[in-house]
Symmetry: D2
Subunit: 342 residues, 4 copies
């Protein structure tokens, strides 16, 4: 059993990490932190996690570095707000521990871009070049070698998985990509904000964060890598009245000379060996991936307008957060990539 710690375990992603790791066949959670709940047992703070033996009785501790180092954990999952994650990642990294960060702190290679989009200087710039972008389907080998993995976010995962293989193969026009995504409300975190109340989100569909959503940066960074040229996209995120799930619809065009009917087979081939990507003729539906680590992908060709429409669905808390983090952990630790995730 490998000892792991969850730093920031009472947000939605942290709780989902608890749910996955509590029953993990080869990981044992030795520490969970929460400033707010320090001293209380997991099972008392998160009633969903009660009744799971020793795990439920584990007390939350203050998120202090000495305490974390003393916990004996080899791997640290950071489920902290951006900005705070880098405060922990640096010292843990330097102490030789392995880190899977679920925040945006280490997803960008460029500190200037971080500053532009996040409005503050990065807390640990020197680590940016060491961190690996944690999307296993794209960077599997690098993740295997990494000691600091910046687990890919929910919107990016749903956007990158359909696009990356097509950009790599030159099948679509990198200069003409528009993305409309809709997320369940858990994507905004467990924050006491009026705009996230049930009464404000139910029977409500709305766009937000326009025109310059923070996730754009990591999306375009990875798309540009895949296309081997700078890619700029339009991205409109929406909030949909559901707890979990992200659905993404992408408008693009086939490259000149590309047979539109070759796109689905190209995606099927790209993901034939992937345990968590399901390419299908059927249109994705968030409910089919809810509670799972799958990303469902499909495509349609609009022959009238000569556009390709790519569609995908993930559970924002699993493949978009906790499940992906555990998948990254598996790669780093040499475990079966799908252990406990199917």
């Amino acid at each position: 059993m490998i000892s792991v710690a969850i730093v920031g375990a009472n947000g939605y992603s942290g709780e989902e990490l608890c749910a996955i790791l509590a029953r993990h066949p080869s990981a044992r959670v030795v520490a969970v932190t929460s400033r707010q709940h320090a001293g209380k047992k997991i099972g008392d703070v998160l009633p969903r996690m009660a009744g799971r033996g020793a795990f439920s009785d584990l007390p939350f501790s203050e998120p202090s570095l000495p305490g974390l180092l003393a916990s004996g954990a080899e791997y640290f999952f950071l489920a902290l707000p951006h900005g705070l994650a880098s405060e922990f990642a640096g010292p843990l990294f330097e102490a030789g521990r392995r880190v899977v960060d679920l925040s945006a702190d280490f997803r960008l290679r460029d500190a200037a871009t971080y500053r532009e989009f996040y409005g503050e200087a990065h807390g640990a710039e020197h680590l940016l070049s060491l961190a690996v972008y944690g999307l296993p389907e794209v960077h599997r080998e690098a993740i295997r070698q990494a000691r600091l993995v910046a687990s890919a976010g929910c919107y990016p995962t749903s956007i990158l998985l359909p696009l990356v293989p097509l950009l790599r193969a030159g099948l679509i026009e990198a200069g003409d990509i528009s993305v409309s995504s809709a997320s369940g409300v858990s994507g905004a975190g467990r924050k006491a904000e009026t705009s996230l109340l049930y009464g404000e989100c139910n029977e409500s569909l709305r766009a937000y964060g326009l025109p310059k959503h923070r996730h754009l940066t990591e999306i375009e960074q990875e798309l540009s890598l895949a296309a081997d040229r700078p890619v700029v996209i339009s991205f409109v995120p929406h909030l949909s009245p559901m707890t979990r799930g992200i659905h993404t619809t992408i408008f693009t065009r086939p490259s000149p000379g590309t047979d539109p009917d070759a796109v689905l087979p190209a995606l099927e081939e790209a993901y034939a060996q992937e345990p968590f990507v399901r390419v299908s003729k059927n249109l994705p539906d968030t409910k089919n991936v809810s509670g799972t680590n799958f990303c469902d992908i499909s495509v349609r060709y609009d022959s009238r307008a000569k556009r390709l429409i790519l569609l995908s669905a993930v559970d924002n808390l699993v493949k978009g957060a906790a499940g992906q983090a555990v998948q990254n952990f598996h790669l780093m630790a040499g475990l079966d990539e799908a252990a406990g995730l199917l």
Copy 2:
């Protein structure tokens, strides 16, 4: 008081017509039809409509033409499935009655297009040229003169209202328009289909009807009129877990030479006198239009990708169906356009 009839009153649009007309200051419902519920009182079939005096006691009748003509109604609202509406509209029209049709049967000017998208011949082709497309903000004067109005549908309303003034003014590129819309489940009607069950729609977001949705035809017809050239768009409708509401997000580009900052003022000016269009800097939210006849519109410019993003929201059952039909009726009958709708 003007006597009106609702033909097909037990679907969602028909019930919403009942709700609006039951308290209308200058219309009196003299007949409601429902094949399934003939003989029963409105208030017993639709419990929401009970307790509203004489209206609640009105019995449903069979939808027969002689019965409708004998009812004394001057105006007929047809809330029937497409194909069936034209069977009633023709004889009513020929008998000198005025018709507001909520179906798609008379929205197209071209019978061949109808056949292509609906898979069958049109039932009353000769009326197509007499019918007026019932979107008051676009065809107000024609509606005033019309005896047969094809009330605009829900997706089209949410797409046309942001686009038409911009196409008319040449502010956007008509050749580059992609639309992603999400609708509440009532948009699919009160049909006993497994895919519309609560358990299938809750916590579910999914696209459907790709790539050639029937509503495309009327949308493109009206966009082409506005642009004065053929316009072809891409349109992806989604089902969102809510009962009411349509949210539309449109990706397009400003025309060469257009100042992106001129778009919001252009929309504000176009709709300054309209009682039911609210242009604002705030992003639209379906919950703000739910139960109302408003269409909310906003716009953002994505300067990085040089795209305009237009956003709108309507209640699919009100401005997208029953409210719009009543607004059309007001125009035809010379009534205050907003009577009972604010």
Copy 3:
């Protein structure tokens, strides 16, 4: 036109008051207050209320007494948290204005009970005996004469309307009443609390506030009046994943000698002339009263266990708050009781 003011207009009840009064045939809103939004226009703060002419442009003012008195309003709707309402009600009352209070501050006749359940002394004890409990179906004549009406709350309305006529007629056992109610989340107000987030309320059903919910006091006060003896009940409120609506299920027993089949007719007779109570054999459903001022009531007899089961449904924001307040206002002002509420 009667001039009215809404004090505390940006909570859910206050917003619903705005929606009703903005289109009221004989009331004109001359002042709306909100500490948080003072200086901003209603239509900017509450986007749902935009586009409604002069009403939308009315600015929120600070809730100061001099300002309210200077507004020219004759009637004041107080949609404030309990405790705060009594600070305004007293001076307004003493200045000769008429007050409809939507809070719990004046619902109890006994200041000691207030202290026991609300944990603090009452702010205007001397007014308790002057206030009338604002449930029109029970206290219509007193409300007509009143200058201070404590509009009945949502749970109480749904519980009292089925029970009061039966207790008055001695048809049920006052000593054996258990009530299970479920409310939509808007009942908890527009408060930035984690427990009210979409992610915490969706797919969640839970009881709360046990065993001594504050609303018990006013319920038992009114039941005791109806039964002419002290009545003590058990009451379990639940939160259900919906925005609006309260459903109440009451377990009781017929009095010795009562024919269980006489209960439905007794309810029908009691409410035959009431504009907003619908007694029916059909089981109530919150969606049928949503957005309306109706209370739906039905009853079943469980002959095996010899229990009566009473069921009711109201919209917590309309008949349970704003609609009821306006109905009370109509009585106080000698207006048509149903004006603008049907």
Copy 4:
């Protein structure tokens, strides 16, 4: 690996069985049946079940007895409508196979009661005395020996688990029990009925099936066994706008002489060794048990009315159906009771 078959795998309970058994550590699904989908692969019919290796490629077969016997399965899970289950259970039983039936067909010991509540004669009366009521916490030893287990239903599980230990210990008055339960819509099955549409269930809370719900029979049978005297209760089921979950609120009274404070400890002791019952001071919430096999239980004493209020929550598809069935299977097969269920 033990070979099992799922008969009727495309309803909600059947799909949940697929989800649990697809990753079961010691069971292998060798046959799944569906009249409607025979010949198609599981992963194509139930997109949620795609991507799970060989399991996803298993084709649905017609539910024929010879086919089932030839499949090699030792255990058969019947997820069929009542009435149909007994047609399969008999022959399978007589052929020496072991059966876990999720329908109501074998839950009653008395064929006359079945006829009274289900309106038709029982199809295999001779088996009633051989079947064991499949609630492990109550009948564990009998289930271990059984060859035909009638897995307990969702409402009964949520009602029996709080009550049985208290009735056995004589702590409550068996003659005064009223139950109000609310279920998610999946409890009604995947049936194409108008009343189960999203538009009919969202923002809706309603009672149904009054006053004589079919589940009453099995509930009272088991309560009477626990109390060792006939127990008659009142039971009001409600439909709540959520997909999964049952919440139950029970009104009863402590027996004369019972210390109300002894009730929670009595429940804690009764379930101290149970893997799937969590007794707590915290009020149950369906979202905490959603997707799990747990039943959460709590209690409050209403000292004013001298009533005990018992509360519980289960996931109707897991502990109320598929999870419970698998738990029963574990007991019958001598497996770890919690395998794959935590």
